[in-house]
Amino acid sequence: MKKILLFILLISQIIIGQTIDYSTEDYYYIRRTKHLKIAMDKEKISIENDVLEQTKFNSSNKLFYANENIYTDSFTEITDIEAFTIIPSTHKKMKVDHFETKDQVGGSVFYSDSKVINFVFPAVTKGAETILTYKEHINEPHFSSTFAFGSGVPIQESVYSVEVDNTIELGFSTFNFDGFDINFEKKENRKTTIYTWKANDVKEFEQSSNSLSMLKYLPHVIIYIKSYEVKNKKYPIYNHLDDLYAWNASLNKQIEKSDLSEVYQIAEDLTKNALTEGEKTKAIFNWVQKNINYVAFEYGMGGLIPRDAAKVCNKRYGDCKDMANLLYEMLNHVGIDAHHTWIGSRNKPYSHAEIPTGKVYDHMITAAFINGNIVFLDATDNYVPYGMPSAFIQGKEGMVGISDTEYKIVTVPEQVKEKNTTFIKTTITLDEDILKASQKRTMRGYEMVDFVYDVKFAKDDKTDEQYLSTKLAIGNNKTKYTNIDLGDLTAHDASYSISYDIEINNYIKKFGSKIFLNLNLEKPLSKDIIKIDTQIYGKEINHKYIRNYETTFEIPDGYTLKSIPKDISNQQEDYGYSFTFTKKENQLIANKQIYLNTLAMQNDEFEAYNNFIKSLIKAYKKSIVLEKI
């Protein structure tokens, strides 16, 4: 199980009955079909896909699509590949004669058994068609199959058929079919049953950033085997959730266990002064979080079975399941009731009820039961404070393994906005035409996690000044930063603060005897208007938050405050702001609060959100006016 298993490049949109003008497409699929055959071969299940893909180059703009890949790993064998181009001028076939296999590297996985078979269709040009056929053999019946009816380019006809022996009971779930022209047919023969889904004219599914999981939009089917019969005896695979747990538990039974005495010793040392279960758990969690480096080896069953806790501890690295298992061993040793927990990230929009299969998961954490509460522990997140789950599993269902046969389905709570805060305290003075300010930012929860990650992993060789000027964008790009204190980045505390002074040369506007000053040195969310035409798949928000700005402006000698903006607020359930201005002797105190209180926005909510942002921009537009006495 990988930290993030799935990296799909495709997502969805579709309006029913929408026809596609193929003549304006540079490249598209004429046909994309897959025939899945599940049969009993003696006493074993044989799973084989027949794949056919036919494409068309309608212009010469995107000939690079001729470069094609077939993905495979140790559970999938590819055979019988045939690929050729049909030359438009002669209608002759031209075969691909060079295929090469490449190991896959990159992403969050260091070493895996993923490979790609790469080849190039020859002589593609405007009007060319390509045809690819191959067989895909899957050698583990617990791996369910997915077929997506959409892709990165439009598809005229997409057909998925599943032929299954009648001694095998099939389960399937369909997702996101609404709004698509997809027909279903089931045909029962004497020995087999054939299920067929046929889709016409499926528009392209193109990635856009900050979107919800594309699997929430892409029409797809997931097929799994419920049970099979051998000699009149029925064997379950995924007949019930219990079977999924049995499979999960069977994987964990295969965890290698060598001498754990060093692991136990560390756990004991860490907790010797801890008084409560919470303190013990925190000490162990923070140790694993800090000392075990995320390195993922995912090959064969090593992608599913956690590794020996002693080895993980000794090598000081592992993937999510390795860290979860180490936590499990350490915590239980010191008397904490902790359990392995299989879970999906927010990329996996499935519930256990929808598909009782391993497709629900791409992650593993540890759940500790402390005083009747569950504490979710995900040490793959280097900076998440103890007590909070990692942001990317908020709201997700996990399967907590209790014993060999018992489990619990629990939901990781979405973390409330009050836990994730930034407080920005600013004092502004004017020195002739120069604006000077001192600022302190204090962050908590995911606001802290995001900032610390960024400083640690994205700052690179930038100087502190360069880094802050691009990260914070205070005032304008002429802002100078001095006296920067980036705080203590090593502590795993509940909060984190940074401070600095700034100077901006041409920020205030002087016209005649008047000075115009906009106190909104930062305008969070002002660039967040959603482009409705291209943001097609909802909007994902990493976490809920509140940002509080308290700005004190010292009115310069010889000037009087002529005009201040009116207090304004717009507070809704999912988002809001408020601005207040208070004059105190020679100071003006501006308070601003902005919050986001949702993790996901659907497309039909965009317009209201854009109106909110526009009203926020209006609020940002208001300057104060000073006049010379």
Binding site: N293, N314, D461, S469, T490
Partner: protein, 642 residues
Amino acid sequence: MKKIILITLLLVSISGFSQYHTTYDWSNTPIIHEITSDESKESSIAILKKEIVEFSQSKITNDLAVFETTHNIIRVNDEAGIARHTQIYIPMNRVNKIVSLKARTINKDGKVIDLDENNIKQIENVDEYGDFQIFAIEGAEIDSEIEVLYTLKKDYSPFGSETLQTDYTIQRAEMVFITNNLLGQIKTYNTDQEFERTYLDNMLVEELVISNILPVATEDYAATDANKIYAAYQCFGNPDLTQDDLWSNTVGNVASNFFPEKTSKIVIEEIKNNIMKDEPIDISDYKKAALIDNYVKSNYNVVENNNPQLEEIEFILQNRTASNYGILKAYAHFLKAFDIEYEIVVTSNRYTHRFDPEFYNPSALREFLIYLPVLKQYISPDRLDYRLSEAPANILGNYGVFIKKDMDYYFAKVSQNDPEFSRVQRVMDISFTDDFDKVIVDESQEYTGHWSILYRALMTYYTGQDKADVEDQLTGSGIEDKHTTKFEVENPEMNQTEYNLPYIVNSTIESSALIEEAGDSYIFKLGTIIGVQSELYQEKERANPIEMQYPNQYNYTITVDIPEGYTLEGLESLEIHKELVVDGKKLCYWKSDYTLKDNLLIITIEEAYKVNDFPKEEYEGFRNVINAASDFNKAALLFMAE
């Protein structure tokens, strides 16, 4: 044979010697090294980065081989440092034997954890990079030192290079170059230090030791990678081989590959049936060359894989698929058929290497262009975005070797023929809705040169959100609530046959964010409409020479319709004059002025960069001009009711 041009050499046999790498080892009693407090603030630093390159000849077979030893000691100070240095990839390109490979972690309390050899994995054929041995460092904690030492025996190649500067501090970099009496030489770049002859283990070696190498400064307008310290070397047995011989050899190879005697029949057919099908016979050379480039880019695919046929002309013409080296052969046949004189240019990406005619280093020779001397234009065979025009921005200004048909060659700078090739012209008409609620900007823009090449390609190849982002750039970036009511382009097709045809954008946008309210007055942030402009800082002394992408020029005319009943203040912020003059030549300038005519405010801007590289001593003057645009971007006008 990939991009690198290999050359064949006659090698004189000499007897072998003892080998230095066999006695070189790490310390049996490793210690944690001292670091300064500044160094401890970095995520990681290298205590040692050492490379030994040793050429050797077998006494028995006389075969030549090269042994390369790498020895690194890295201090990791935090989790980012650990993440950066614990995943090790060792390239197996040309390696025929791993002589030794070991790694260990020394923790701050002195505990040593050795790498378990069983955890070393092999990965094969990774994209264009070949095979690797990979492993993860075991037992690394904060404040540990990670030590890796390995020696690889590689197939003999007379050439090589090593980069000695990286993106973290190196306390001590060492390189040892051993030829074992074979003739060879080594040259350093981007440092004043040179190799010194010395004896190690009684062997004559060339050694370089550099202390405290800081990461290359990340600066705007800089070719950071090309400025890294590196060494390039050659080692061969033939004492008569000069740099001229090496270049001649390359030229010979190029000439035999890229200047065919006869044109292939396939090419003649393609010209007859496709390229010239609808064209009159007497078209200009420019149009012929443009038609060739358009045709090849619309019908041939340039790909990278291990298929050797991608460099065979028959296969290339049949399959219309080639490597980026092979595609030159296809071009050669088309140019030959049209009887257009051409030269092959072998050069480097100026952001990674500065071409050095004085020292033959094939690993730096990875870019190929076709130069048409009659037209003074280039074809960039493996660049989908470029069509017949000037050389691409990443090569412009670098030197290259220009190879002619008769095997004659010369070194020259890849320069731009038309100094005004790249221009941006904008005419903007600005008006306001009642009550200053919104600004309306009507704009017509003409992009030529590298600008038009860029935008044509982006708008053709991008789709969805990426394309929308380009449209955003084309209508003024950084306007928070911009609403585009009109967006039309002219001349968007990639395949053009007219010289430097402009890419034209006509647009209308509306924005409310451009106006701020202050009491009963309105502040119009006029400067914002020219889009976000880069601001150059100078916290430290400029480290890198200044490199712009290409010479270019902007001309704007902005007309503001002043609403009746309002007066304007703040006009003086529109007048900015900055220039950099070196040796009497105005290299770059910004000039913005305004005139008031009835109710119209007319602003004109001229900004120009006449060259693409500036000496770093002129940084202050250059910065002034660049920042003038950023100053103008902050310009604001106050509208007050009369």
